[in-house]
Symmetry: C2
Subunit: 181 residues, 2 copies
């Protein structure tokens, strides 16, 4: 993407959270409009579309405080400062699913919520999965259950409106051409 | 989705922006974990997948200050307090594209960025399009160009990594079964 920064006139508010910051800035946009806009500054997220040898997708059913409920998602995590996206997802898939992947394919990246966040999701296809005897511990605040689904079952769940988030649906679409079933 | 609220212990910070608020709360999650979490409280967004009689998808190339560049997106807008999602998207499609749609199909809804936002996107298929002679004015800060693409061109753009956001890819996937081409 060709970068086309806005002119920063004033930075008004800056809140730092665990994994991201929130700021309000007075900007002059490339079209000349001046105003105050707020957004989350995020280091990015890495996501895996894990597929077993039997053609099942490995998802997690995960509690999300923001929406007060449990969503079906592909395993993913925030990129930490010492890591790149690929290191992040190699760790996260083990922590969240107990699987290690031995074959990885980069599927691409996309902006998650560009109206108020600079986060990009870096998506990978994860294959040749090995179920670990002693998987690493999950983060303390994570509340996760493993769900294995066929492509048919996953697509049916999306189309009947099961709670599945945008990055999961988008990453499935990115992965589809790489899968022969 | 079955609602499963966390217990609110303390609300620490509250920033109100134009279209949403940002808050940090001390919560006790359903699994007992206690901590401070931040998120955007958003009224929701409504999105159209507009398709012309010739089978072209109507997209907008739009400047997004958060990612400092232009993204290809389906037309969408924030739900305003006096509106519901369907009223919102009927207005937004005209403002952003100059088209009025005479046939609407509700495609479903999905959480956009549940790690830090409660926003749901309400997606609609918009057909029987009429190009308006005098479309309503765009919002002053919007910087938008119309792009019409075939299904094949859109899918190629997604898979080669053109900057296209998560809600646009996910909504395309939701719309696909409703289209015969």
């Amino acid at each position: 993407m060709a970068l086309e920064p806005s002119e920063l006139i004033q930075q008004q508010i800056y809140v730092r959270s665990r994994k991201f910051a929130f700021e309000t800035s007075r900007l002059r946009l490339p079209n000349g409009a001046v105003g105050d806009w707020s957004c989350i500054r995020h280091p990015g997220g890495a996501l895996a579309v894990p597929v077993t040898a039997e053609g099942k997708f490995v998802l997690v059913k995960q509690y999300r405080f923001a929406v007060q409920g449990r969503l079906l998602e592909f395993p993913a995590g925030t990129i930490e400062s010492q890591d790149d996206p690929f290191q992040t997802i190699q760790r996260e898939i083990e922590e969240e699913t107990g699987y290690r992947a031995h074959r990885w394919t980069h599927l691409g990246q996309f902006p998650l919520a560009p109206g108020y966040s600079d986060e990009f999701i870096y998506a990978y296809l994860a294959q040749d999965l090995e179920l670990l005897d002693n998987p690493p511990a999950q983060d303390e605040d994570e509340d996760i259950e493993l769900v294995l689904m066929s492509a048919q079952d996953f697509e049916a769940a999306v189309h009947r409106g099961d709670p599945i988030d945008a990055k999961t649906i988008a990453s499935y679409f990115l992965a589809r051409p790489y899968l022969s079933f």
